[in-house]
Amino acid sequence: MGVANLGLYNQAIILFAALALFTSFIMLAQGRMMPLIFTFAWQGLLLAVVSVLVAIVSKHPELYVSAALTFTLKVVLIPWLLYRLSVQLNMQYDAEAIEHPTLLLLGGVALVIFSYFVAQSIVHLSGLATRNTIAVSIAIELLGMLLMCVRKSAVAQVIGFMSMESGIFFAAVVSTYGMPLVVELGVAFDILVAAILFGVFFFHLRDSFGSLNVGQFNRLSEANQPMPLRDAAGEHSSGGPHPPGEPS
């Protein structure tokens, strides 16, 4: 079935699904913090538009609710929370050097091919008009995972996590016309709580490690810089707990 035989709404679903996939690739290639957050918001907007279109095509009015949920959470609330956090942590102009950017993008393309291969068996069973976009939803999930794997910054990893959740939501919309509303509300609430908790964690991480780079988390702070830290610990020992291993 070629794309030219589909109706306009179905063509638009395919177009916006492809654009959502494209935003995943932009997130992979984007090292700066603010554009990364904005790209995530764009992806949420595209997925909300796809849900509205699917609702129109399939005549499932409850999908409007999930589209509205996606919009409020992924376009407004979570990007706003992340934006405010990175302003408070004074890292809104931070840029992360991406190692091997071209190799990373080609790896993303390989993931798209893999998800196409995986989705083939589902596509043959499904009779829905949106069945071709199942591969795209799996690809968005896997690309979010790739983003979490390759990035060192904790904020970028959180965005990768949220992007994976977007992929799962998108898979539900296009393969079964949405999850039950109770489940969707629950997941949305979980995501919101997760975003707030991540914010709290960011502050704790910065206080204990002095950075949000996860590459530095696995080192013990004493082993890292022995002398200055001991001095600092000696000065402030009255306030905080003693590090393990140090005689009290």
Partner: protein, 319 residues
């Protein structure tokens, strides 16, 4: 027999119009750019004056220039002329489209580039060699991206013939194809790199150290320089017309009646003027990249064209 003769005559006229209009497009780009940057703008036919002046000038050749150095301008111009004959400008279904398909078109560009690089090396100056190596680096990265974008289009249209593919897009009307969107972006990025426009190269620079394309042809003068400059203007025109043909073919003539041809000419002129304005905005907004950022730029273009092909396979034909 008679209609076939008319068709060939039309094809020849179209090719001539193509190469005659190429400096006009360059002049238009220059003029809009000057207006956009608050400079006094030269007339639209300034490129024609430049070409006429260069053609009249006395030829000066370096002492150690070989036959290759003298042959290259003609080879480059010939390759561009053949490429221009293939691309449908105001009408599709012309017989000249059977000369070459899209892959041969890419090969014409590669041929011209190869000989320009050889000419840059021939004299043995430092800038020539440097420009040749840089141009080869850019083109080695741009060509796969261009080919992938072209393959995406030919997979959709089930042909590699330019004229037939344009006709297919025209006939299928307005279809929202994500693969075409990505291929358009990729082709635009490749076109910018290949025609040495701003983020990759600055065509108006006077600083030899930052030149890519210009560094190779520093030693040329007179008639040879005129041919090479004209060829690069034709190249810009070919890329613009390709973008217009593939993605916005509406208005191009399918029959050979005078009214259809006039509409086709007007449509293509309007579309090219608009495209030139977009190019100018792009060139004014962006700054030239460091040379070592160019692989990343073109890698992104390659990724886009790969994504175009994948979305074509996954989304547009599956099921």
């Amino acid at each position: 027999m008679d209609s076939e003769l008319t068709a060939w005559a039309l094809a020849a006229a179209q090719a001539l119009l193509f190469i005659a209009a190429a400096p006009l497009l360059a002049g238009w780009v220059q003029r809009v750019k000057c207006h956009a940057q608050n400079r006094a703008a030269p007339a639209v036919w300034q490129p024609y004056r430049n070409l006429a002046k260069l053609l009249r000038k006395k030829m000066l050749l370096a002492e150690n220039a070989s036959w290759l150095f003298r042959a290259v301008p003609y080879i480059v111009f010939g390759a561009m002329l053949l490429a221009a004959a293939v691309v449908p400008l105001i009408a599709v279904n012309l017989p000249s489209a059977a000369i070459a398909d899209m892959i041969v078109l890419v090969a014409f560009f590669a041929l011209a580039r190869f000989f320009t690089a050889l000419a840059g090396l021939d004299i043995g100056t430092a800038f020539g060699g440097m420009g040749a190596s840089r141009e080869m680096m850019v083109s080695a990265l741009a060509e796969p991206a261009m080919l992938m974008a072209v393959f995406t289009l030919s997979m959709t249209a089930s042909t590699t013939n330019l004229s037939v593919a344009t006709g297919y897009v025209l006939q299928s009307g307005l279809v929202l194809r994500p693969s075409f969107l990505f291929a358009l972006l990729a082709l635009t990025m490749v076109a910018v790199a290949e025609t040495s426009r701003v983020p990759v190269d600055n065509p108006a620079t006077h600083l030899e150290l930052t030149m890519l394309h210009e560094a190779m042809i520093l030693e040329y003068g007179g008639r040879h320089l005129a041919l090479i400059e004209w060829a690069s203007q034709i190249k810009l025109m070919i890329y613009s017309v390709l973008i217009v043909d593939f993605f916005f073919p509406w208005g191009i003539a399918t029959g050979f009646s005078a009214a259809a041809l006039a509409v086709g000419a007007l449509a293509v002129a309007a579309k090219l003027m608009l495209l030139a304005v977009i190019l100018v905005v792009w060139e004014t907004v962006l700054a030239k990249m460091r040379l070592f950022r160019v692989p990343q730029f073109l890698g992104f273009a390659f990724m886009l064209s790969l994504l175009a092909m994948l979305t074509h396979v996954v989304l547009e034909t599956g099921g």
